[in-house]
Symmetry: C2
Subunit: 465 residues, 2 copies
Amino acid sequence: MQGEVSMTQDIEKATEDGAFGITERLVSDVKDAVDLGDVAGVEALIDPLHPADVAHLIEQVDGKDRRDLLEACKGGIDGEVLSELDDKLRSQVIGCLDQAELAEAVKNLESDDVVDLVEHLQVGQQEAVLDALTDTDRALVEQALTYPEESAGRHMQVELVRAPEHWTVGDAIDYLRSDDVQLPEQFYHLILIDPRMKPVGYVTLGRLLSAKRNVKLADLTESTFRTFGVSQDVEEVAQAINHYHMITAPVVDEDGRLIGVITIDDAMMFLEEEAEEDLLRLAGVGEGSLSDRVYETTRRRFPWLAVNLVTAIFASLVIAMFEEVIAGLVALAVLMPIVASMGGNAGTQSLTVAVRAMATRDLTSANVLRVIRREVLVGLINGVIFAVVMGLVGIVWFGSPMLGVVIGVAMIINLVVAGLAGTVIPVVLERFGIDPALASGAFVTTVTDVVGFFSFLGLAALWLI
Amino acid sequence: MQGEVSMTQDIEKATEDGAFGITERLVSDVKDAVDLGDVAGVEALIDPLHPADVAHLIEQVDGKDRRDLLEACKGGIDGEVLSELDDKLRSQVIGCLDQAELAEAVKNLESDDVVDLVEHLQVGQQEAVLDALTDTDRALVEQALTYPEESAGRHMQVELVRAPEHWTVGDAIDYLRSDDVQLPEQFYHLILIDPRMKPVGYVTLGRLLSAKRNVKLADLTESTFRTFGVSQDVEEVAQAINHYHMITAPVVDEDGRLIGVITIDDAMMFLEEEAEEDLLRLAGVGEGSLSDRVYETTRRRFPWLAVNLVTAIFASLVIAMFEEVIAGLVALAVLMPIVASMGGNAGTQSLTVAVRAMATRDLTSANVLRVIRREVLVGLINGVIFAVVMGLVGIVWFGSPMLGVVIGVAMIINLVVAGLAGTVIPVVLERFGIDPALASGAFVTTVTDVVGFFSFLGLAALWLI
C-alpha cells in the first residue's frame, strides 16, 4: 500500500496544472534526467505514471531525447503503454524490444488490446508479438485478424461472462464466486444465453447484487439490450452504445451466437477517433498525428492542396473569360474576391452542419428536403442583408450605385447557391458511397468560387460596361 | 416476457437499415398514423422504442406533424425521452404537459438527469419540474444548480455506493445484499472512503465478486483511481475518463469529501458534444441544431459571415493599393485568387491540426516550437512544389516567365506564412483565454488573404511593371 499512496500523491502533483495528463514540468524533468543519462532518475519519474501518461510522455519528447528515453526504459515498457502509443511510435518502440521483453509486455493484455497492437505492425513485428502469446491467446488474436478492419469482430473483447437464461440470482452469484471459474479482468454484465448460445438479455452486476437469490436473471434484464453482428462497422456499434447509453454491446456471429463484446471505454475511443477524422478531413488534412515528421506531413497535405489548386485554376478560368471587363473597370478586381469569399464561408457553414448531421444520423431522407429549404432560405436572407451592406460599400467606396447593385445581386445569388451546394453535395456524395467529410469541401468551394466570380463579373458585363 | 420478446423483434426490424436508430419507414408510418389521427396506431409504433429513439423521432418530424405527434403521446412522454430531446424541443414538449404528467415523467430520473433537464428551462418551467420532485430530490437538484454550468458538480450523479476502506469483500457483499440498503439504479464500483469521507480508491463489482470474502477491499483497488474537484470543468473530467479508461470518476467537494460521480456514459456524451462544438466553431457555425428554424439559423450564422465580410474588405483594400498595377496587366487579377486560396487552404490545414491537438492536449509548450517549425517547413516544401507548377502555368497560359516567377515566389511566401499563422494564432489566442476554435479561422484567412494579395501584386509591381 505504500506504493499506492505515493502514487496518488504523484498523480495529484502531476495534475496540478490540469485535470489529467502530464505536466510540462514533468516533461522537462524527464528530458533533463535523460540528458544526464540518469536511468534511475528516469525510472523514478516514470514509474508512478499511468500507462496512458507514459505513452503521452514518449509522444511529447523529440528525436534524440525520445530514443534516449526508450533506451532508459528498456525492458520496462509494459504492454499497456504499447497499447496507448500511436501506431507509428508503437512500431518504433516494439522495434527496440527483444523477444523476451516483448513477451513480457504483451502477456497480460486482453485479446482486443493485442489485436489493436498488432494490426498495423509490419508482418515481421506482428509475428514477433504473436510468438510471444500463449497458444490460446494467439488463436484468439489470429481469429480476430480474419475479420475486416474496422469491424466489430476485429475489435471485440472475447473475455466475457455468459449465464444460461434460466439461472437465478443465486446460481449466478455461486458461479461467479466459485474457485474454478476464470473471470475477465473487467466486466460489468452477465450476458444471458439460450441453449443455442444466442444472447437474449443482460444483467448488470449492480442489479445482480441488489436482488434476492431466488429472483430469475431473466427478470432483471436491461431494456437497452440489443446485439451487433461480427462484421458490422465498429463505429456504428460505438454510436449505438452512445445513443442507447449501453456499457457493453454483445457481438454475435453469423448464426447469432454470442462471441464477444464491445465495451463502452473502447467505444468512447472509437467515437473520439471518428470525430477527429471528420474534423481533419473537412479541413483537408486527412490522417496523421502531431508526431509525424516534416516529410510525412508534407506528403499527406499535398494532395488536398493539389485538388485546391485545380479548383482555384478553374475559378481563374472563369475570371479570364472577363479579362476585358476587368480591364475596363479595375474596381471589379478589387471587389470580386469578397463575393467568392462570402460564398465560400456560407457554403462551409452549410456543409459542416450537413456532414455532422449525417454522422450523427440527424440528417435523413425524412428531413433532407426541409434542411435544404432551410439552408437556401438562410442563404437568401443573409444574402439580402449583405447585398445591402455591399451595395452601400460599392457606392461609398467607388461612387457607383450600379456597381453596388451588381455586387449586391451577385452576393445574393452566391449565398443561395452556397446553401444549396453545401447541403446537396454531401448528401449526393454519400449516396454514391463517397465519404462526404473527405470530398465535399473542394466541390463546394469550387461551386461558390465559380458562381461568385461568374455572377459578379457577368452582371458587371451586362449592366456596367 | 412476452413484451420483451416482441420488443426485441421490433428493434431488430428497426435496425435493418442500420446499426441503431429509427428507420425512415418508421418515421413515415408514424407520420401517416398522426395524419389519420390514429392515436392507438401512434402508440403501438412508439411504445417498443428506446427513449433515445422516441426523442430522435420527435426531432425528425416537422412543424404541424410534431405538434400532432406530441398531442397523440400526451401523458405518455416519459422522463427519459425528455432527457434525450435537444434543449429547445424539450422546453416545447414540457410546455405541453400538465403538472401531474410532468411529475409522473420526472419522478424516476436520476438527479443528474433532472439537472440536465431543468438547467436550460425558463424559470417558470424549471419551477414546475422542481415542484414535481420529492423534497429530497428537489434539494439535490437545487444544490447541483448552485455549481457553475459545465462544472463537475452540476453534472455529477449523487447516487453512488460508498464503503469504508477497512471493509473486507465479505462485509461489502453482505452490505450490498442486505434488505435495508437503497442502491442506485446503475453502479459499477464501490468507492472506498476514509473516516473523514475522503475517497481513497475504488473496487469494480466484477473484482469484488471474484474475490474471497476475507480479502480486504483496499487490496482490490484499481490503479486508474483519481478524484476530481466539484468546480472542475466537466469536459476535462470526461477527457480524463477517456484518457485513463475509467468507468466512474469520483467528485469531491472543497474539503476533499466524496459527493458524487461522473459516469462514463455521460462523459461520452460530453466528449461528443465538445467535438461537435469544435467542428462547428471552426466552420463558423457556432451552436445550433438541425431542428432550428430559418430565423434562428440565419441569426446564428450572420455574425460569422459579418466577420468574414470585414476581413474580405480588408483584403480588398490591399488589392485596391495595386489598382494601377492590375490595370497595367489584367492577368494579375485572373491569377491573384489562386495565391490567396492556396494560402487559405494551407492555413486551415495547420490551424485545424493545432486546434485539435490543443483540445486533446497533444500540443503543449513542450513541443509547440517543434510543431511550428514543422508547419513552416511543410509550407516551404509544398510552396516550392506549387511555385514550380504555377510558374509553368504562368508561362504556358500567359507566355510570361516573369509572371511565373512572381506567382511562384508569392506562393512560397504565402504557404510559409500560412503554416506559421495557422499554428501561432490559435496558440496565442488560447494564451489570452480565447477559444481558438472560435476565433482562429477569421484571423488566419485574413493573414493569408492579405499576405497572398500583397506579395503577389507587390512583386508584380516590382518585377513586371
